[in-house]
């Protein structure tokens, strides 16, 4: 029997957390403020006279029996900000030795899903690589977490990443604006900044969770190397020595800094951590500090 995605103790610690977003999305009540508009919901708001075409299911039949007049019950509209978690499932997520980025991404997505389910949010789990894969929509409480965890556990990383294609498909598949949590190593042949900028421009709030392996940032090898790209299979032969290592690390840090600036510029947030950082520490550390969860 495979080990569970998240253990029970960790899940119990997650129950007091809530996913926060910063923006007020068009057509919806943003943040966690209670809506002043009536509509479909669970909480009773008021009565009004029945008009032709109203939903008969909202008629207060007890009042009709007593007063012989049709009154319609009105309910408080619940804020339904869609939370969508994009999980990078490309082959590059499998590199990094024993602790792969893909495992960290799945555990992080699972933890965020559980936090949302506890708060009765609707969470869309959307894996991607070259394009969007089949998604999984979960909501309705913590008892719906087990199918979500199974979905995440069954995921297998493969293929190459194409952020342009993913952004295009996402924009057409999810027209309703919401919180977009992207968990990825953001390593692809093409550029990822423009697609992310595009998604932010059309109204999605970006929460970029950048996961890297230690060898992605500081390669431990030296000498004569034949490097193979995990996604494209491209090869590169080179001599890599200690004095070049710092140059490489500087390049990586520059790239991560660019992602952070993009997110900040577009009103989103960016968090980066290595696979050595446990998911527990990431949730209660950096994610809590930037008020992504609290």
């Amino acid at each position: 029997m495979p080990a569970p995605l998240l253990d029970r103790t960790f899940l119990e610690r997650l129950e007091r957390l809530t996913i926060h977003w910063l923006k007020s999305f068009p057509g919806l009540v943003g943040g966690h403020n209670t809506s002043r508009f009536s509509g479909a919901g669970q909480e009773f708001l008021d009565h009004r006279h029945f008009h032709h075409g109203d939903d008969l299911r909202a008629v207060n039949w007890r009042a009709y029996m007593r007063l012989e007049k049709l009154f319609l019950k009105m309910f408080q509209v619940e804020p339904r900000v869609p939370v969508r978690i994009l999980i990078d499932s490309s082959a590059s997520m499998l590199t990094g030795g024993d602790a792969s980025k893909f495992d960290s991404a799945r555990r992080l997505a699972g933890a965020l899903s559980y936090i949302g389910l506890v708060r009765l949010e609707t969470i869309a789990l959307q894996p991607f690589s070259e394009s969007l894969w089949d998604s999984y929509l979960c909501g309705g409480g913590r008892h719906r977490f087990a199918p979500a965890a199974d979905f995440l556990s069954r995921l297998e990383a493969r293929g190459r990443t194409s952020f342009f294609e993913v952004a295009r498909e996402y924009a057409s598949a999810y027209p309703q604006r919401g919180l977009l949590i992207m968990i990825s190593d953001f390593l692809a042949e093409d550029d990822c900044e423009k697609p992310l900028q595009y998604l932010a421009d059309i109204g999605h709030e970006l929460l970029l969770l950048h996961i890297w392996a230690e060898e992605d940032r500081v390669p431990p090898w030296s000498g004569e190397l034949e490097l193979i790209d995990a996604e494209s299979g491209a090869r590169l032969e080179m001599s890599f020595e200690d004095d070049v290592r710092s140059l490489y690390t500087g390049r990586f840090d520059d790239y991560a800094r660019g992602l952070r600036e993009l997110a900040m510029r577009k009103g989103g947030r960016y968090l980066g951590f290595s696979t050595r950082t446990p998911v527990e520490d990431a949730i209660f550390g950096p994610l809590s500090q930037v008020q992504a969860v609290s």
């Binding site: 980025k101 034949e226 193979i228 390049r251 990586f252």
Partner: protein, 640 residues
Amino acid sequence: MFFFNLTAVEFLAMLSAISSFVVVLYLLDRSRRRQVVATLRFWQQSDLPSQRKHRRKIQHPLSLLLQLIALLLLLLAIAQLRIGAPGASWRDHVLLLDASAWMNARVPAGLLIQETRRAALRYIRALPASDRVMIVRADAISTPVTGFESNRETLENAIRQLEPGVSALNLAQAFDFASQALRLEGGRPGEIVFAGAGRMTSEAIGELPSPPRNLRILPVTREPDNCGFRRAVISRSPADPELWQTFLTVRNYGRRSRSLPLLAAFGGAPVATRRLTLEPGAEASVGFEFRTNAAGWLQARLETGDGLPLDDTVMVELPAHRSMRITVYSADPGLLRPLLSANARFETVFRRPGEALDPQAAILIFDRSPAAAPVSQHSIWIDPPPGSSPVSVSGRKQNVTLGWRSEHPLATGLRTKDARIESTQVFASAPGDIPIAEAEGGPVILAREGKAKTAVFGFHPMRTALRYELATPLVFANVLKWMSPDIFRAVELHAGSVGAVSVPLEEGIDAASVRAVLDERFQLPFTIRDQKLRFFSGAPGLVRLRLGERDLVYSLSLPEIADSRWEPPKSARSGFTGIGGVDSVARDLWYWLALAGGLVLLLEWILFGRGTALSGATRARIARLIPFVRQRQPPARRAS
């Protein structure tokens, strides 16, 4: 210069093989490693150096050169490269350390054994490090303390723990042992080294064969003055068992005349004092007598104040006097009184016939009288009345001629010529009975074995013509000795030194009956040759010899001090000269080579090692200090 473990050809072959192996490993180490990465984005940056075109090319020749130099140095160290002639390699030596009793002597600089230890340690430290040494403890018996050992700490510990014994030095055996050890177990024979005073007995020096050619002497020349006991003999007076006759032998081992007081005490009470004047090398005997019937310790002490106190005191444990009680039931005690009172070991009691039996008596004699009760002790019946004889009487004969059955020990020495007995009872012997004397018709003196031994006389010897014959007291003595042999056993006490002891034997001693017992527990092996019994005891103890009717008790408590000094031959090397000569001819270089190899490896690791803790800048600075270090070439880049 030569290689200790390898010939030059073997060395070069091994160096070539290992160097080739190292070069191959070096090239393999420098070969390209295949690695899957998440992206090539950062590797393809223009400011990163890229691949080299010829990957099999030696890229750091200095690194390879340093590795090969380190390999050469380490291989030379393993081969134990030496400067010198091949004959001057390691050797095996046997170091004989004098552990005789003489080494207990004290001189102004300390004990002689300490001086011996210092000489031995100095010799060990002067030897080349590769030489092996066997430490042998040399006293009466040569005993190896270590095997052939090159570990100097082990050897020095063995030397420091060596303590002298109490026996004398036997160099002949030590030289023989050392020669055999070198021949059988040693590698390249070295020296046989003797460290010590070389004090031996004159006999041992006379029997010493020519010493080995490779002998070296580390002499201990200090000679302390010493006077001491050599032996002591204590025995009971034959006439008076309570009188002890003591003879002490004292020797002056020194080179000046000494006048010494001697004090002897028994149980703490002085029994004799003497003053002895001894010339150098002279021995003197002192005799004195004292009377006691009690057991106790006799201690004799010489007030010498010399350097060897071990032989200044001699102590012997004296046994208590034992007597045997004989009760005679006779109406005419005057007949047997002279016969029984002649021996001081007998305590004779006379009672009238018919009195109650004496339970404390060892032997009962019934003179023409019956026993008042059944007899459970040994008994002698003389002309028993009819019906009271313990053996069957076949009749009485008159005027018979007596004949002795001398084949039995009971009749040993009995001789009479035409001895006639006027009247005697003749007994009917049963199987197992021992006839001592016979007349016509049967035995007239009969002995019977049993838990209580019995002897029956058919006549009273003191009432016949036999009373004038020597056979009469002899036959009584034989019967009494047969019944209680221990009371007739003579005890002689000797105090001597440990080692080999030679005891002269009387004629007629049955070798099968001789026993030697150490400390009343262990059978001690001995040899009998030329009427001498020889045994050896390497440790102090009490040895009891049973020689027929004589007991000799040897209290081996004195050290065996040799009386002469062995003079080594002039051909033998002496002192410490020439020990290090071998080392100066062939000098060990392996540790310097190993150190140099390690330093070269360390330098290579600092300059080119991957896992070094030094930063790149530090290594660059170190590399700049060495002008011949080639700067690394910026590689060209090639993407596949």
